[in-house]
């Protein structure tokens, strides 16, 4: 069912701190909400990342599919890992089309200490690229073309191609 409806939900928060948005993110509003909600909690450092669609190679837009149940589990695991360091995580991602110069991904980490925030932002964004169940397509002349060459096999990939050991 999750795969069936994933193109049609107009706007939905999967979790208070994992936001899935149809189309481009409202970056300023999301940042303001995160800053307001979390920065009052005596966190000294807030680091954030915003990913914006670049205009290149004649691409009109990027488009995204995502698989919510595994995305949520992956996010919850990170939230737990950060919680053990006294830090806190927020993330937003687009579903569907995002035109050039609009943003499709943002995340923030809140921490009492800057070292944790800086190190974890790097680690989180890299793991996001490698293991968040999100698929990217170039939109060219109205068609969605899977961005295979920029995609990364997830941890454990190829399992079904192997022989039983």
């Amino acid at each position: 069912m999750a795969t069936g409806f994933r193109f049609f939900l107009p706007y939905a928060a999967v979790d208070a701190m994992l936001l899935i948005s149809k189309g481009p993110l409202e970056v300023e509003k999301i940042f303001t909400r995160w800053y307001g909600a979390e920065h009052k909690n005596n966190y000294g450092a807030m680091v954030s990342f915003v990913g914006t669609v670049r205009e290149e190679n004649g691409i009109e837009a990027l488009s995204f599919d995502l698989y919510r149940p595994v995305l949520q589990a992956w996010f919850d695991e990170w939230q737990k890992r950060l919680g053990e360091k006294g830090a806190y995580l927020a993330m937003a991602h687009s579903e569907g089309d995002v035109p050039a110069h609009k943003s499709s991904f943002m995340c923030a980490i809140f921490s009492p200490k800057r070292r944790v925030a800086l190190e974890m932002l790097d680690a989180f964004v890299e793991d996001f690229k490698a293991n968040a169940p999100i698929w990217k397509y170039d939109v060219v002349e109205g068609k969605r073309l899977y961005a295979a060459d920029r995609s990364t096999p997830m941890a454990g990939s190829g399992l079904l191609a192997g022989d039983e050991k």
């Binding site: 595994v70 690229k129 698929w135 990364t152 997830m154 454990g156 190829g158 079904l160 050991k165």
Partner: protein, 73 residues
């Protein structure tokens, strides 16, 4: 029966397979030539939990998901 779903760009309708382990699911899917390239690069979830062994046992109604290479952001 086990339901197998193909996420993202694989673009294939779900199939039902009679299998008791993930190894049996793998064997069945290998018979579909259009899946060959995806099996090599897809990761696998059972009931939305990522797995890393073909020895996972399955029961009637379980759901197996194939997750091809990702690129969020």
């Amino acid at each position: 029966m086990i339901k197998v779903e193909f996420l993202g760009p694989i673009g294939k309708e779900p199939v039902e397979i009679d299998a008791k382990t993930l190894a049996e699911v793998a064997a069945a899917l290998k018979r579909d030539p259009e899946l060959e390239k995806w099996l090599e690069t897809a990761a696998v979830a059972v009931n939305d939990t990522m797995v890393d062994s073909l020895e996972v046992t399955l029961k009637d109604g379980d759901r197996v998901s194939l997750l091809p290479p990702v690129c969020g952001g």
